[in-house]
Symmetry: D2
Subunit: 138 residues, 4 copies
């Protein structure tokens, strides 16, 4: 298990998470919320949030929520479905744990955009998160 | 089908692709290579490329290569496996088309890091790409 | 939308679903439960449920629940994570709808095994389900 | 690494693989081909191969090819895209290894149907395969 201030310190030490403006909104065992302001430099050519931004926030929520039950982790893999263009004022990724053992967690994440105060579901993701000492670098 | 200069124009018009430094290295029917210099602001807390950066380049190569056979497209979904930490001097995502019909393509992408001139496989992805007029906004 | 008797008729007309003993336990808009008795001929070499059986029940629940909101559908793709060996007396796949438009649904499914009356989570899946007239045969 | 006769013995000891008629057509380090005759009892209600059958053959090729480089393994997860209805006389799943370390492999599989002697691509899959002693039962 990772305490919240440890999770916050990890996020603060991630230059790319800072670049996209990611913030830790909530962090407790089995639950993590990562959010970012919708900014013009996070868009693609049609003015909506770039798929890579949505995937980045999903990756973060999926991984951090895995860490909330396992301690330091890495992401083995994830899958993401895009449901609706990301627009509005804010992007919010809510991660949860489907199940976990000692060394691995399966996590899910729903990614919303906040449009004039209303949450709309933009994407849904599922991941395999692995405890750091059990990673498998080649 | 999308001509290369059209693909380049789309990439140039994507603020987030510019933010991560993505470049179109190759683009022809059934093949697309997207690359980016490895920069410190693309890393996570352990100094390797952030998973979101790898996913962003994968998303781009998967989508653009779908566009290379379908014309304007959106990404319906993708899945990515991380194999090795992204390090070195450059990240390169090579996309290909597994199969496609008139309205949809299944595409794959291998993402490499270039370390002192040597290519190392970092991640592997697979996607469903849909022709733009057939998208399904809710 | 598909009425329950229509869903039951489809399942009854699927020889492979009959071969694995799949039953429609519940079917209403946004919810579908498919179950099968755990049988020796559904196992692999270690005596647990074959991954293909779990995937088959997942595929069915993911697809039928998509049909519960869209009408006749096909499965575009799905992803499944295995969490625990399938053992016990019964396998149960519970499908739900994450979000949908007119032509496509993103669905999820949790697959449980029933061991001496206790439900244990075996696998978790996520899919893209497409309305039949919008399919994309090549 | 798993020798071919060991792989064959595992397949022979899998009741469900026997039920669907799966055969080991090829097995060597980094390559595995699993095939099955197209039979009426493997279909769904429209007379094409049930998605669960395609997924089962994919699961087998993905897992066995992982075993070809790692030894005894289990499937952590996989993702499958359906491209075309499975018809004809035979279904063939060709598995390959994208990359692997000591304990984990990322594998891919293309699934074809043989229609009057011609191979047609039906589905494409990607998986995470884990060495058996490193599995993570909960």
């Amino acid at each position: 298990m990772l305490p919240r201030d440890h999770a916050q310190a990890i996020l603060d030490a991630q230059p790319f998470s800072q670049l996209v403006g990611a913030e830790l909104e909530a962090f407790e065992p089995g639950r993590c919320v990562i959010a970012a302001p919708f900014r013009e430099d996070l868009t693609q050519h049609m003015g909506i949030a770039h798929g890579g931004v949505i995937a980045t926030l999903a990756d973060m929520a999926l991984t951090f929520v895995g860490g909330s039950v396992l301690g330091p982790v890495i992401t083995s893999e994830f899958k993401i479905n895009y449901l609706r263009p990301g627009t509005g004022q804010r992007l919010v990724a809510r991660g949860s744990v489907v199940g976990h053992g000692r060394r691995q967690a399966v996590t899910r994440c729903d990614i919303f955009c906040i449009v004039d105060g209303e949450e709309k579901l933009c994407a849904a993701a599922q991941a395999t998160i692995v405890k750091l000492e059990d990673q498998n670098p080649q």
